[in-house]
Symmetry: C2
Subunit: 120 residues, 2 copies
């Protein structure tokens, strides 16, 4: 994740509808959701508006799509999301563990403390 990708990802996440889409898709897991279902769940938004935001997110690399019959199924790109977190943290932690440590504490509320993590 370089600066340019991070910029694009931040821009994608800085819009209410898109942020909600991403959150929804992350919780939806690997099966993902059809564009229409996302629209209903998120906003009651028109199909063209949803399509606009979904393709914006796809350009930014935050979601992926596949066709299933007439529907197009979107899934969250978990790898890119964690890359963004990494980017933020790498930048923020340089000699300032007071940034990382609260983040680490937050992580431990949903992941087992992976103390096996190797120093890259």
């Amino acid at each position: 994740m370089d600066e340019k990708q991070a910029l694009t990802a931040f821009a994608a996440l800085s819009q209410e509808t898109r942020l909600r889409i991403v959150r929804l898709l992350v919780t939806a897991g690997p099966e993902g959701m059809a564009a229409g279902a996302i629209g209903e769940a998120v906003d009651g938004a028109s199909s063209s508006r949803m399509s606009f935001h979904l393709s914006h997110l796809e350009q930014a690399g935050l979601v992926e799509s596949r066709r299933a019959g007439r529907s197009i199924i979107y899934t969250a790109a978990l790898g890119v999301l964690s890359g963004l977190i990494e980017f933020l943290m790498r930048d923020c932690c340089q000699g300032h563990p007071e940034v990382c440590n609260p983040a680490m504490a937050a992580l431990s509320t949903c992941c087992e403390p992976t103390k096996a993590a190797t120093h890259a």
Copy 2:
């Protein structure tokens, strides 16, 4: 950190000059940097442009300012930054440790594995 704050923070970080300012200030640490010095370091930008971006960042809560003589010194708001990371992670990890674990590994490159972190 609620959705609205996160949205504002993402918007603030989605602009090249502002993202660079934040990175610069984080590495500058608690002493911070004067507006003029930030401008030179980041961009060679005009003073009014710098002021625009700095106050945008301040509104978003990502930086703080204090006056010192004629200069105004800006510092990164580390707490808000880690709050944003937390927000991203809380949302992204729900039942999907494949998002958190790489982030955790990344963290461990700059922070000691804080396995003492308590489950909130």
